[in-house]
């Protein structure tokens, strides 16, 4: 059982993000962290691998820098990593990302692919679905729980009102929601062990992926504007009827 888990290294969200003034790309410091939402995918992969005596391979298209974020996931227990960081990839959009990941996963071979639902730095949220399509696998998205039995993956797919139970034969792709599993903390032993684990860094040419980067994506970031300042909220003075006012607002916002 080989499980590929897609992960991303991102600049620490606790620090302010900086954009390159010319190309508008996020400036990547040497120290990056594992995207917090990816910890769920890694944990889900590890649990399924432990249950099946399987192997977890991390697949990441992100600037490698010092690989600190990838090592975080290796320290949790993943067996090896494939990191694609090619100068040609600068400015790639979601579809190119999916093509690159698909090529790496196809070359590696995987029975199950796990991804997060979206990255914390890009928030595009469509890469897993594209990846499933390119790999010819069913896309089992928003899993709050996943179980493997005899070549079948069964998930609880989070919906707005509850969950659907969805089943598919392997190979398949699953996206793990935050909260689906409780990600383990790496131990010191795990951190030391991660130093010795293999990290492959193939180029796009080696993966046979062409027309990548801004040009290959057919997109260019022409302008970036700061998000509008939040406007002040509505203040309700409680004169004994505040609850009805709040209910009205919640109804307007269609949350109840």
């Amino acid at each position: 059982m080989k499980i590929a888990v897609c992960v991303k290294q991102i600049p620490d969200p606790a620090t302010p993000y900086e954009l390159d003034s010319e190309n508008h790309f996020v400036v990547r410091p040497d120290d990056q962290v594992l995207d917090d939402t990816d910890r769920y995918g890694v944990e889900m992969g590890l649990q399924l691998a432990e249950a099946t005596d399987g192997e977890v391979v991390l697949v990441s298209m992100s600037p490698a820098n010092n690989l600190q974020g990838i090592r975080q996931a290796l320290a949790m227990g993943a067996d090896k990593a494939i990191v694609i960081d090619d100068e040609a990839l600068r400015g790639s959009g979601a579809l190119v990302t999916a093509r690159v990941l698909a090529a790496a996963i196809e070359r590696e071979g995987a029975d199950l692919v796990i991804a997060g639902t979206e990255s914390t730095d890009g928030y595009v949220g469509v890469v897993p679905q594209m990846l499933a399509e390119l790999l010819g696998m069913p896309a089992m998205t928003f899993a709050r729980k996943a179980e493997l039995t005899d070549g079948t993956i069964r998930i609880e797919r989070q919906t707005s009102g509850g969950y659907d139970v969805v089943e598919a034969p392997l190979p398949a792709l699953v996206t793990a929601t935050s909260g689906s599993v409780e990600p383990r903390y790496p131990t010191f032993k795990g951190i030391m062990g991660a130093k010795q684990k293999p990290i492959e860094q193939p180029s796009c040419a080696e993966l046979g992926v062409e027309s990548v980067g801004s040009a290959g994506s057919g997109q260019e970031i022409v302008e970036v504007r700061p998000a509008p300042e939040r406007t002040a909220g509505v203040k309700i003075q409680d004169e004994g009827d505040a609850h009805t006012e709040i209910i009205k607002l919640l109804e307007q916002a269609k949350v109840i």
């Binding site: 320290a75 903390y185 010191f188 030391m192």
Partner: protein
């Protein structure tokens, strides 16, 4: 000379900080208020491998250096002293003597559970009439056939009465001029754990007085050589002092982090209080003291890891860091004003928790005695 920690030490620090902030900090106020020993969280610290860091892999440990343990203790203390002392005492005073002095059988029997953090151990040195003068032990152990019969009392013993405590090693007089260390398994008949103390701080940590009333344990529970007890506890305390220094650094760092955030956010006279030098300088002084305390602590840990003499370095680090921590909590409480006096504010808990750092594992006066003695006085 290179002052940087390895990438692995830094990664580990981040993990422990993340754990402390997510699993401990949100509950600290409640545990402090209810004096609850948070067993589940201690077990989770065990799962993270914190209790096994410095132990060999054959017992399930990580084979890490003492500096790694210091980093873990520092990061836990940055949010919660009770859990930091549980870790510090569990490793430094509880499990470490078994590793240092235990026979192969004793290590096989006790270490795997202690190293995994499934069980905890304590170290009983202090007595009602033997505190700083710990060699004045009055507790007696007499051989009766193949059993030790123990009578006496111990005071203030950390980790001695939790539901996961497996043993307490105690010092006892085994002859007129002879102190030895003996392992007392939890729940041995005649081993009475008194109700927990009402404490000013470290309220979620486990501290009890112990009584021994014709308490019988097998002769093979002797830990290390007979008559070596005095020497052993001096050695154990040397390591413990470095760990307690690390704990003090964490407490001071927690004060600094809270103070800095509050000084930027709290506005009086139309501007953040941190815009006043009177407040900014307090925080600058805190930073200086933390830097110095951390360097002294890491130096002592490094000397120990190098297998070099570190007794004086340990006393120096413990003395300076614990006093820096107490100062930092006093200043942090001042920076928080009235809010700092309220039980819910973390700095008020830090203020109460810090004082004992100047008392436990050798008071400040005792550290000065150790240093003065090393200087030939």
């Amino acid at each position: 000379m290179d002052f940087s920690l390895s990438a692995e030490h830094e990664s580990f620090r981040r993990v422990v900080r993340q754990f402390a902030e997510a699993e401990i900090a949100p509950n600290s106020e409640e545990w402090d208020r209810t004096h609850e020993f948070p067993t589940a969280t201690v077990l989770a610290m065990g799962d993270l491998g914190l209790f096994g860091l410095i132990f060999p892999e054959e017992y399930g440990g990580a084979g890490a250096d003492f500096l790694t343990l210091c980093i873990a203790i520092e990061e836990i203390a940055r949010v919660d002293s009770s859990l930091a002392i549980t870790l510090e005492a569990g490793v430094g005073l509880g499990a470490n003597p078994i590793l240092q002095y235990g026979t192969a059988e004793q290590k096989d029997r006790w270490l795997p559970d202690l190293v995994a953090g499934r069980r905890l151990a304590g170290f009983g040195l202090t007595e009602p009439d033997a505190g700083s003068d710990a060699g004045a032990t009055a507790t007696r152990a007499e051989l009766d056939g193949d059993e030790w019969v123990i009578n006496g009392a111990k005071s203030f013993i950390t980790n001695s009465g939790t539901e996961i405590t497996s043993l307490v090693s105690i010092t006892a007089r085994t002859g007129p001029e002879e102190i030895s260390t003996i392992i007392i398994p939890a729940a041995t008949e005649g081993f009475v754990v008194e109700p927990g103390y009402r404490k000013m701080g470290w309220r979620a940590s486990d501290t009890h007085g112990l009584l021994f009333e014709d308490c019988r344990v097998p002769a093979e529970n002797l830990l290390g050589d007979r008559g070596r007890g005095f020497h052993q506890f001096l050695e154990i305390l040397d390591g413990g002092r470095v760990a307690l220094a690390a704990m003090s650094v964490g407490v001071a760092q927690g004060c600094l982090d809270h103070s800095l955030a509050y000084a930027k956010e709290r506005k009086q006279f139309g501007r953040p209080i941190g815009a006043n030098q009177a407040i900014a300088f307090k925080i600058a002084d805190m930073q200086v003291a933390i830097d110095a305390a951390r360097l002294l602590t890491y130096r002592a840990a490094w000397l120990k890891d190098q297998g070099r003499e570190f007794r004086q370095a340990a006393a120096t680090a413990k003395l300076f860091a614990s006093e820096a921590a107490v100062d930092a909590t006093r200043q942090a409480t001042q920076i928080f004003g009235g809010y700092g006096f309220m039980d819910e504010s973390p700095v008020s808990r830090f203020y109460r928790d810090a004082k004992v750092l100047e008392i436990g594992e050798g008071t400040s006066e005792i550290q000065r005695m150790v240093i003065a003695r090393a200087l030939g006085l």
